[in-house]
């Protein structure tokens, strides 16, 4: 009874399947591949291949001449024993903490103060100019300002404030802190711009309702604007986190990593080991470490943000 029932439709359903397979097969399969090849090829050859090569070289000893010789985890062991690496990790951490607090806080302040004000966009202009300048040019300007006895010292002196005799770019961790200030000078304006866009997208009704209930000033900001700016804060902090881990340009231009390598970040250490010391294996180990840290930081941050958003 059941046998013929299952056997009978075999032929038609088989041909229907074949037909639907034929219909599902993309008539543009080959053109589609053709249009994708350039992107896949260029990314594979110039980005992924080097990526894999660096990973492999980190397990070898190699100075660019001859062929790499396998040394297992030696580069990583040496790296964790190296006091310069410890300094570099410490500086990178300071950069991360500084970058997700100072420019984000200032940007938010500038956005909130200028939002909805007449000439607000004009008052924001001074903060935006530094962002349009490259990291290198920012380094040139601030290295000049922070010279021993330079612009900042002279200003402090003239105002009768202490600190005029500080050696801004020589002493650690002061040099890292002032470079973070230079970076904040560059980034705050654009973060303000992003927060202004965030503020513009807040619907008017709940704000009006809160105003009728008597909320204003700080309470209004704390309970209405700040929670509603949350998606933008997530984006801004996430981007600052990832980019601060890779800090290179400003440090390189202002201090070359500092006297005695005391201002190096991980990105600078990688460059120093590879291109100055020709220790390709050691440099690659730093690069791999930096990549893993960046990856873990991004994943952890995203997961925390997503899970806390779900509970809200």
């Amino acid at each position: 009874m059941s046998a013929p029932a299952t056997a009978a439709p075999t032929t038609p359903s088989g041909s229907a399947a074949a037909e639907s397979r034929r219909r599902r097969r993309n008539p543009y399969g080959w053109p589609a591949r053709g249009f994708s090849v350039p992107a896949v090829l260029v990314v594979a050859v110039l980005l992924y291949l080097p990526f894999l090569w660096t990973t492999w070289i980190s397990f070898t000893e190699y100075n660019g001449l001859g062929s790499p010789s396998w040394v297992g985890l030696d580069n990583y062991r040496a790296m964790f024993d190296d006091p310069n690496f410890a300094t570099s990790v410490r500086n990178t951490l300071i950069w991360v903490v500084g970058s997700i607090t100072v420019p984000v806080g200032l940007g938010l302040l500038i956005a909130v103060l200028s939002f909805g004000m007449r000439f607000g966009s004009w008052l924001r202009l001074p903060f935006l100019i530094p962002y349009a300048i490259s990291g290198v040019a920012v380094g040139v300007v601030w290295r000049f300002v922070l010279q021993n006895g330079g612009g900042l010292s002279q200003a402090l002196d003239a105002l009768g404030l202490p600190g005029a005799d500080l050696r801004w770019l020589s002493d650690a961790p002061l040099n890292t802190l002032v470079m973070i200030a230079a970076s904040a000078w560059q980034q705050s304006g654009v973060i303000a711009l992003m927060y202004v866009i965030g503020l513009q997208s807040i619907p008017r009704e709940p704000i009006e309702a809160a105003r009728l209930d008597g909320a204003s000033g700080w309470r209004m900001f704390r309970h209405m604007h700040w929670p509603m700016l949350r998606p933008m804060t997530t984006v801004v902090i996430g981007l600052s986190l990832v980019s601060s881990l890779k800090t290179f340009d400003i440090v390189w231009v202002m201090t070359k990593g500092g006297p005695g390598r005391n201002a190096e970040t991980l990105a600078v250490t990688m460059y120093e080991e590879t291109f100055v010391n020709s220790a390709y294996g050691a440099g690659s180990a730093v690069a791999v470490f930096l990549s893993i840290v960046t990856f873990l930081a991004a994943i952890t941050y995203l997961r925390r943000q997503l899970s806390s958003e779900r509970t809200v």
Partner: protein, 272 residues
């Protein structure tokens, strides 16, 4: 009432602090090097010599060569990247590339890791292939590094074009190449321009790839040349170094201020 005065006051004070380094840059880049005094940086003293200082940075500092090669890099690289990105976006969205999402993630993943992961192999590979310190090599890497972001934006943008557009063109007998070149690309001009501007700025401002993959004054990109000015304080007057820093910043400042919206939108897409 207090807030009405306090808010602009705080902003103006902060704004003046923000402009102070720019003031120092302008004033000291304009000083005659013979009259420059290290302990008088806040005061505009001496003759106005900004253009002489810029000329010195341009000629002796080698910024002239660097500007022409960097113009080439920041136009050709992103232009190629935008086309390549649009092509794969077209393949995924309109031509329904098999496993399209996988290929998209693969291409976009190309910029997730730090640049430090690819510098050394690129350097070694470029030397082996004979393209180290060549304009061709620089264009190739600037194209590759800007493709992932272009693919991201173009895939999203082309996804907004109704598939009926594609079907109608097929009925009219157009080839896929023609549909891409004559219909999809013209329809996405705004996105193409936005991505191009963002990526051209990125290339213009690049330091690291230039440091690793070039050395001669003819090939070296602009920011690498500016960073090198800093090292040769002896060879070049400080006033000229500052004038050079000012000179290379002007194009991006003008571009940014005239296209602010594009930048802030690009930022929220992850272009920092």
């Amino acid at each position: 009432m207090i807030a009405r005065i306090l808010r602009p006051a705080v902003l103006i004070v902060l704004g003046l602090i923000w402009l102070a380094p720019i003031y120092l840059l302008l004033v000291n880049a304009s000083k005659d090097p013979a009259q420059y005094a290290a302990d008088q940086v806040w005061r505009p003293i001496g003759d106005f010599a900004l253009f002489d200082n810029m000329r010195e940075a341009w000629e002796i500092g080698g910024l002239g060569d660097a500007v022409s090669s960097t113009l080439l890099y920041s136009i050709v690289g992103p232009a190629l990247a935008v086309l390549i990105g649009a092509a794969i976006g077209f393949a995924i969205v309109a031509l329904r590339l098999k496993h399209g999402f996988f290929w998209f993630v693969l291409v976009f993943g190309g910029t997730v890791f730090p640049l430090q992961m690819i510098l050394m192999p690129l350097f070694v590979g470029y030397v082996e292939a004979g393209v180290y310190d060549s304009r061709l090599g620089m264009i190739a890497i600037y194209t590759a590094i800007t493709v992932p972001f272009a693919a991201l934006v173009m895939r999203n943008f082309l996804g907004g074009i109704a598939h009926q557009v594609f079907e109608a063109a097929v009925v009219d007998g157009a080839s896929t190449w023609r549909i891409f070149w004559r219909i999809y690309l013209p329809m996405s001009t705004s996105a193409l321009v936005a991505v191009f501007i963002l990526q051209a700025t990125f290339v213009w401002n690049d330091l690291l790839l230039g440091l690793a993959l070039s050395q001669s004054t003819e090939v070296r990109p602009l920011m690498t040349a500016v960073a090198a000015l800093q090292d040769t304080y002896g060879g070049l007057q400080l006033t000229a170094v500052l004038a050079g820093g000012l000179l290379v910043s002007l194009p991006t400042v003008v571009l940014f201020l005239s296209t602010q919206r594009i930048f802030s939108r690009g930022l929220s897409l992850g272009q920092f």
